[in-house]
Symmetry: C2
Subunit: 343 residues, 2 copies
Amino acid sequence: MAERLTIALDAMGGDHGPDVVVASALEFLRNSKETALILVGKEDAIVQHLGGAAFADRLSVQHASQEVGMDEAPSRALRNKKDSSMRVALDLVKNGKANACVSAGNTGALMATARFVLKMLPLVDRPAIITAVPSVQGQTHMLDLGANVDCTAEHLFQFAVMGSELVTAVSGIEAPKVGLLNIGEEEIKGNEQVKQAHERLVASTLNYIGYVEGDDIYLGGVDLVVSDGFVGNIALKASEGVAKLVRHVLRLGFKRNLLTRFSGLVALPVLKRFGRTVDPRRYNGASLLGLKGIVIKSHGGADRLAFENAIHIAEKEIYCNIPERIAQQVSRQLEAEQQRSTA
Amino acid sequence: MAERLTIALDAMGGDHGPDVVVASALEFLRNSKETALILVGKEDAIVQHLGGAAFADRLSVQHASQEVGMDEAPSRALRNKKDSSMRVALDLVKNGKANACVSAGNTGALMATARFVLKMLPLVDRPAIITAVPSVQGQTHMLDLGANVDCTAEHLFQFAVMGSELVTAVSGIEAPKVGLLNIGEEEIKGNEQVKQAHERLVASTLNYIGYVEGDDIYLGGVDLVVSDGFVGNIALKASEGVAKLVRHVLRLGFKRNLLTRFSGLVALPVLKRFGRTVDPRRYNGASLLGLKGIVIKSHGGADRLAFENAIHIAEKEIYCNIPERIAQQVSRQLEAEQQRSTA
């Protein structure tokens, strides 16, 4: 590993590429005094965006000649883009030149390439994507968010183990309350995989509180919500849709006439504070868990503030040594299961 | 059929039973001058709540000695509760004494009992639950919302056909834009059932616009969003959770100090208007589609306003003759498919 903590940034990924990534990197370096960054991508484009920026000892550029398209098939990216900014950034992690990697690129390609380059942790079948969302009590973590469309009970169980360990590490909660996303709290509901995962979680040493429903994600009674990637992704996106609708309706309401415009001005400090609390940019940066390395996925449409947040998440995971902690926790949980089954 | 349009209400269903149902019924009768109501349930409890209410010619009570518990297994309710308020209300529809039924009771039991009593329309495999939610453009309909946990491509296709016809009937949209809920707009994503349903919808005569994501439900570009019941239920509940979080954060924000309290007072008309626009009570009342009769499911926790809304939805579906329209549309779509496959 590099002596100084180092994060590799896929400078070409996302809807805005180096426009956003370079500006985010410079802002991050202003706010974080220890960590170094490597901007990976087309050198001329990156240098142009850098202008004459300082941070010479903490900022370097690694040229990569290719880019992965946002709609490119993961298998194609993996086969044909061996010098893509995404792939080279992951190689830097693999080779110990960087401690983590952040990309706003194509999720499927990032997942497939990260898995190929970094490999899975022992005993973990699949990577999962986890993120935090705001809740009445503070925040809730959710996984999986789209890495795995069809999941077995074993996968869901592994997600719970990995997610619980991540929440402990980054939030300092000793025994995070883990819930399994289902359509009813009664045990008669739910599909087969969910029911079997429920049985395994009940028998585990995790702080499993049982089934939770979609609204529980935001109500503060649970720290980690586990689901397959199809359901998790749709729950998250539906939530984003409601947030957009709320902003739209509030804006229209305050714009109706002079009186409502005035009341909007008066209420502005409260509305701004409200906006900050539920600002999705403050939650940007989802972790790919289960890999032998730290990989953070930024939203493709992330702006400077949002992408910078994803870099801070990467830094925090380096400090917390997430992959090693997860490897240990997975092995402990599976050993505990074996002991129970032979007891 | 009864000469006067008549709706049977399960007076014992929901978290509040006759407390809410009787008050909603009286308010409905004040607002709607044509339709008659039958309150089904324990006669003494209902009469007590009625007090000396008028509407003698449009309001009657039908005694039923049993109640279905909110957590009771559907199969148990079906077997052991032949004189439940839910079952008797459905029997009234079956026997032509009522044109529709509204219940806030246990969803699973309502679904199983309705299917047993009323039977499915020809060519329809399963009932589906549909509701409207607010969107940037007005409203969007979603189905299925929990009736069907595991769905085949054929089920999803039938849901799309039924839902599209309902939207045309109640919203007057000639060719509703139909979207299939998925985790990405690129064709590489999604699970097997969804991909196969997509192929069938592309080949159909519906106005199918392709895959939509969770946030599209609220952004106004689609009139009907189709998914299996597990995903649909979780998307809807997650949305409710965000709405609760928004209310919580706004309330806290305006309560912080004297200044924010004042700004809240000034902004009150706008905030109230906002509350009305996204008020889930104004959207209460989900239809069970695919049955030989009109059955509306109210939220279990519905209050007077919300339950009354569900009765209005039942009335509208009677006027629109929903079951017959759906039967015709399903048969047209399947004939069109056969012609294509033999052409």
